[in-house]
């Protein structure tokens, strides 16, 4: 009962709790950005720094926190939680921490709201600043980069600790008694950091969060905490979160240039679609459709020509989805960034499926020039002459000597007459280069020749039925042996 609380005090208290919750989220998320945080002290009060602490407000984070709260405040049974998780570039993910802002029923009627509660909330925020640097996830977040990113998810409702693995530990940051209940801030963090592959399909992921899906109150959103500079290498940056009924409008500004607001992993959501219904999962069965939808959206804007992705190139589609970034703002901006992607080395993909601009292909000299000609792909079929793969040799230039075509039967390579380092023409009758060229294609070993191989294979095939018959007779022995192993 809070009849003893004046209406002004009640208003103040609600405001304090609301802004405390928002600042708590800011502190936690900023502590997982991977960078050192620094704010300045100011002797003159500006009136805008809540709790007399200089804590910057990242607009997207505030926006998401407000959405999660949806006008409510933490109360008994309704906690505000910030989940911090790690996601590798291969798609494995792991929950690291859950920060909980809870309220229990224990009231302190005597406490002064505008003074004591406010100052204690300020102290609690300072404690939060200190504690966020000492949990194991802090050091992980400082080292995030190309191999993994740290993600956060805000939700409101019941605390879900099951994703933290066995033996997770809890640290209490602090408590503040108020006339309407006691605010408690704590963190449950994983201690078993052994990685288990948690790659899931969309269906599996829906099962992970059953209560979240069912709850009308819960609004889940996910963003990367990596700074934009780190995400420019087009790394997967969104985190699975179940679609809550309340989570409309997925198409809003996303944090840190990497936050694809995806309801499920491997789903691509193009912001700008009202109602936020995600596109089909870009798993291989739907690759074509997803690609076509994407292409349908982007062709009018940038005029690039894209051919349909075939199901066989599903790994490429996944590369695209894994490397896509969606930004806020106009669809044009978004689509520009979606296609700023790196084609991985060894990817056998027709060149016209990627934008010509902004493309940075590693091992460009090995990029296939012809469509789907695997035979010509040097990385698939390495040429017989190994020295032509070496970029060093490619840089040695010829003095016009002849006899340079032996051994090289591939049109992709320009044959240059090379002078091996440290060799001199006039010392030996046969110089090193000539020797190398003459003997660079030795004949195959006879034991590896096709005829002999074919013969032995034929013999093997003939004897196979007999061997099978023998083994079938001894089935019982084999079974007994297997039993002993178990």
């Amino acid at each position: 009962m809070d009849t003893d609380l004046s209406s002004q005090d009640r208003k103040d208290l609600d405001k304090f709790i609301k802004f405390f919750a928002l600042k708590t989220v800011q502190v936690i998320v900023q502590a997982r950005l991977g960078e050192k945080i620094c704010t300045r002290s100011s002797s003159s009060p500006t009136g805008s720094d809540w709790f007399n602490l200089a804590i910057k407000d990242i607009p997207e984070v505030t926006h998401e926190a407000k959405k999660a709260l949806a006008g409510q405040l933490p109360a008994v049974g309704r906690s505000m939680c910030v989940e911090i998780s790690l996601k590798t570039s291969e798609g494995d993910s792991m929950e690291l921490e859950i920060w909980c802002l809870e309220m229990n029923e224990k009231c302190d009627k005597e406490i002064k709201v505008s003074y004591t509660v406010y100052n204690r909330l300020s102290l609690l925020l300072k404690s939060l600043l200190a504690i966020t640097r000492v949990t194991p996830a802090y050091r992980l977040s400082r080292k995030q980069g190309h191999e993994y990113v740290i993600l956060y998810r805000i939700y409101f409702g019941e605390v879900q600790l099951s994703g933290l693995g066995e033996g997770f530990q809890t640290v209490r940051v602090g408590t503040v008694g108020t006339p309407v209940g006691t605010i408690t801030l704590s963190c449950a963090y994983r201690i078993n950091l052994a990685f288990m592959s948690t790659r899931t399909t969309a269906e599996d992921n829906a099962a992970v969060y059953p209560s979240v899906e069912d709850s009308q109150e819960v609004c889940t959103t996910s963003f990367s905490t990596s700074p934009p500079s780190q995400l420019s290498s087009s790394r997967l940056s969104y985190q699975p979160a179940a679609l809550g009924v309340g989570s409309a409008d997925m198409g809003y500004p996303v944090v840190f240039a990497g936050g694809l607001n995806a309801a499920h992993p491997h789903q691509l959501i193009v912001p700008g679609k009202e109602g936020g219904v995600p596109l089909v999962p870009s798993q291989s069965p739907h690759a074509t459709q997803a690609d076509q939808e994407r292409m349908a959206m982007c062709t009018p804007l940038d005029g690039a020509h894209y051919s349909a992705a075939t199901p066989s190139s599903s790994e490429d589609t996944e590369t695209v989805s894994n490397s896509s970034e969606a930004k806020s703002g106009s669809p044009h901006d978004i689509l520009e960034t979606i296609f700023v992607r790196k084609v991985g080395a060894f990817v056998n993909k027709p060149i016209n499926q990627v934008t010509m601009a902004n493309l940075d292909i590693p091992f460009a000299m090995f990029a296939p020039k012809n469509i789907e000609l695997e035979d010509n792909d040097p990385m698939v079929n390495p040429p017989d002459s190994p020295e032509t793969e070496s970029p060093l040799l490619g840089s040695l230039h010829s003095e016009g000597s002849s006899g340079n075509s032996t051994g090289n039967t591939h049109d992709d390579f320009v044959m240059v007459d090379f002078k091996p380092a440290f060799s001199k023409d006039d010392i030996l009758p046969m110089d090193l280069g000539t020797f190398y060229r003459e003997f660079q294609n030795p004949p195959q070993l006879s034991s590896l020749s096709i005829d002999i191989g074919a013969q032995s294979m034929a013999e093997d095939l003939d004897s196979l039925p007999e061997k099978l018959a023998v083994h079938e007779k001894n089935v019982k022995e084999f079974d007994a042996f297997v039993e002993t192993l178990q």
Binding site: K36, I37, C38, T39, R40, S41, S42, S43, S44, P45, T46, D49, N52, L53, A54, Y115, R120, L123, L124, K126, S127, L129, A130, I131, R133, V134, T135, Y138, R139, R142, V171, R172, V173, G174, T175, V176
Partner: protein, 218 residues
């Protein structure tokens, strides 16, 4: 009123002394500093804003948060530097302790000088170890980092018990409770002292006056 006393113990290598002490002292002072008070008419006051910054340790796998005040940082570094030098020069087992004491001043009538009444004392006992090789040093980096994490959690736990704190003073009394000499933040009045245990087990007490006041007096 009893003075609250908390003791923390750490074992560190010689070159880690300064960073470990600064980490603990700054964490405590983060909780015991407010923004600058600006008194208005009718006894009300407004409070300035305290900024914070992360500090990475060079010799320990640890990052701590301190108040963004260069003056305060300099004062602590000076005190810790003297403690470290005393510890290293003592030639003893390498054991000592540094104390951070928060106190209130109580005005006394002339000719008696003002009384300093401590209300919270933090004592950090330090044991300096010698390490033989680089591998041990690397392990020590991590271990001391983990230990300091525990210490921070201990400090936060004590701070959030919400036990005695001096009452917010009126304008005339503010210097009896807070150190108003810094330009950007306002910690509670504090003093730092240290003791080195020499090889005979007796303690050689060195008390330093509050560094800010000394610096200003010069």
């Amino acid at each position: 009123m009893n003075c609250r006393s908390e003791v923390l113990e750490v074992s560190v290598e010689g070159r880690q002394i300064e960073e470990a002490m600064l980490a603990v002292l700054h964490t405590i002072l983060l909780h015991r500093s407010t923004g600058k008070f600006h008194y208005k008419k009718e006894g009300t006051y407004s409070i300035g804003t305290v900024g914070t910054q992360d500090v990475d340790c060079d010799f320990i796998d640890f990052t701590y948060v301190r108040v963004s005040s260069e003056e305060l940082d300099r004062a602590l570094r000076k005190a810790v530097g003297e403690f470290k030098d005393a510890l290293r020069n003592s030639g003893g087992d390498g054991m000592g302790q540094i104390s951070l004491e928060f106190y209130q001043k109580k005005k006394s009538r002339w000719p008696f000088s003002d009384e300093c009444i401590p209300w919270e004392v933090w004592t950090i006992r330090v044991n300096v170890v010698s390490l033989a090789n680089e591998q041990e040093r690397q392990i020590c980096r991590e271990k001391v980092g983990e230990k300091l994490c525990e210490k921070v959690i201990n400090i936060v736990e004590v701070m959030n018990r919400h036990e005695y704190l001096p009452k917010m003073p009126t304008q005339s009394e503010v210097d009896n409770v807070f150190d108003t000499g810094l330009k950007d933040v306002q910690p509670y009045l504090y003093k730092i002292s240290y003791q080195i245990t020499d090889s005979l087990g007796t303690s050689v007490t060195t008390t330093m006056r509050r560094l800010i006041k000394d610096t200003l007096a010069l």
